[in-house]
Symmetry: C2
Subunit: 349 residues, 2 copies
């Protein structure tokens, strides 16, 4: 029982079946007339040798669809996981393999992966997730875009700001400003006026767009807004917890509602609020953003994002024949999901 020393190639099959390699190839492809008896011989040889064609070799001579690559910070975060799921599903539906890379936010890894994808002849590279928008970032993305375009791959920025004219990159995102506007208006119409915004992070694109919607809601309804209610906070549970703890320690009765920039922040904030002996929504109302799992568990009213659809849209766009230089960004709409974290204030005004 000698182990298979070498992989079985099409030549082995040809020899075994007593035909030429061309015949084997044609019998398997089925696009060229082959005598039924010959075909049977070939298929039997294939079965007996357990031959599997080498996709890499085939890709050399035939233009075959390339893989779709997803780059995310981490798969552990529901927000990314949902999007990645959409990407994978759509890619599979279109007959593409999905390559995945997690960067942990490290630009080095991102760069290395983009380079690898050029070598792999990936058909599309999808970068997911918000970022700090600075010059370094813009330059980096612009370089990626041109490099990938030159290699015939397409770059899709998913839930990231567009790069602007003349840069060959496609963009798909959520309507963050619209969603933030809507949920803020929801709080305002429930009678809340002093609404804490938890998640200020200047330069962070997701934060910036959401806070913009929050402010716009006040402005549109002609309600005055206290900038001191905008609270800095990173986008994770712990930060939400500590920021809220701090805020409650400083001035308890300063606000009646909280708009957390993400559900994860909200989860942390909820814990802080409860530990402070306050009840939701009786003492404090709170809303979040994203509609990811913690939201349902804590009964959080939030903004639902079509995550999976975003991933699908990214792939569809990438595999379409749209010109990346001129195609406008796609923006997916959002809607509010009402649960039980908002109390209607007495309308005695």
């Amino acid at each position: 029982m000698s182990g298979p020393a070498r992989r079985v190639t099409i030549r082995d099959v040809a020899k075994h079946a007593g035909v030429s390699v061309a015949t084997v190839s044609r019998a398997l492809a089925g696009d060229y007339p082959v005598q039924p008896s010959t075909r049977r011989k070939v298929l039997r040889a294939v079965r007996e040798l357990d031959y599997v064609p080498n996709a890499q070799a085939r890709a050399l001579s035939v233009a075959s669809p390339g893989a779709v690559a997803i780059v995310v910070n981490s798969v552990n975060t529901a927000y990314y996981a949902y999007i990645a799921q959409g990407v994978e599903k759509q890619a599979a539906a279109e007959g593409r393999l999905s390559l995945i890379c997690t960067t942990g936010g490290d630009p080095e890894r991102e760069l290395a992966f983009v380079q690898t994808m050029r070598e792999q002849r990936a058909e599309a590279v999808i970068l997911v997730g918000s970022v700090i928008l600075d010059d370094d970032y813009l330059q980096r993305m612009t370089r990626y875009a041109h490099a990938l375009a030159a290699s015939g791959s397409r770059l899709v920025l998913c839930s990231r700001p567009p790069l602007g004219e003349g840069v060959p990159a496609l963009t798909v995102g959520f309507d963050n400003t619209g969603g933030a506007h809507a949920i803020t208006a929801h709080l305002l119409s429930a009678g809340h006026r002093r609404i804490l915004y938890l998640g200020l992070r200047p330069g962070h694109t997701t934060s910036d767009t959401r806070v913009a919607g929050y402010r716009a809601a006040f402005a549109d309804l002609g309600i005055e807004h206290d900038p001191a209610l905008e609270t800095r906070c990173d986008f994770d549970r712990r930060s939400g917890y500590t920021a809220m703890k701090q805020r409650l320690a400083d001035g308890p009765g300063d606000f009646t509602a909280v708009f957390a920039a993400t559900d994860v922040i909200a989860a942390g904030a909820v814990q802080a609020i409860r530990e402070h002996g306050l009840r939701i929504p009786d003492d404090i109302s709170i809303v979040g953003y994203d509609d990811v799992p913690p939201a349902e568990d804590i009964g959080l009213t939030t903004v639902h994002l079509p995550h999976t659809e975003l991933g699908r849209a990214a792939v569809r766009l990438a595999l379409s024949s749209k010109d990346p230089l001129t195609e406008p960004p796609i923006t997916l709409g959002t809607h509010i999901v009402v649960r039980s974290s908002v109390k209607r204030l007495g309308s005695g005004r």
Copy 2:
């Protein structure tokens, strides 16, 4: 500005630099002496033409590391996402690309993907997640194992039962029975005697192993156990909710604690308990399993699983030179995470 009609190949670079293709290859590989002046010419040509070597072509002539493929039900589930994260990280650390495939539990997709991975010459295929253990499944896996082994790929079953002697598959898993034993003992030592097990699903490997630990804990401590407290329930939130609802409607005071087979089931159960007007842990204690996000949000005492480490171990094992025919299954230990969902009963017995 005529778009690059064809990809730039090593021959283009050679022509542009006025050298032979061999020289270009060697100048880039750097493993063969090349005159510095020649090397400079080559590198300049590479830069000017923006040449990127074709990894697929290289893989044909040189034995290069293959990709690592992960197959999961879905990336949306934290349990899978954590494991996938571990796989991706370890694969990246070992210089491999990660391919991902979600099956939604469809054996057809799984089969198709395994076949594709053979064609792609993947180095390892990692199947993750529990399954219904029946003859059909065993036959399928055995077929995969032999097929992949014949193509030189390795099969790793992650959090799935081993296939037994003579089948070339590696196995990595959690100590489900041990963890279930420990957390049941935790409830017993807190004074609980009537403990509802929520998540019975005969044939489902994860469920079977956990319920075994639950029963063993009673047996080891010589405490009688009422089989009627083992409740059927699927492994999702909704099922946990409805099963608990039903149980509470049937006989409220029948049990003092609940052992949910997963944290997700627990999350559903918690909601049902609260809606029934009962409080946790004052009226009912509850524990879960997995230690995935809902656990922290609902303050659930649970069994922590080293998910990410499982993924890493799977990759390490796959890329090691261990013989899949003889290598014993790896089992990763677990530990209890105590939060606030268990009440110590009055020790008045």
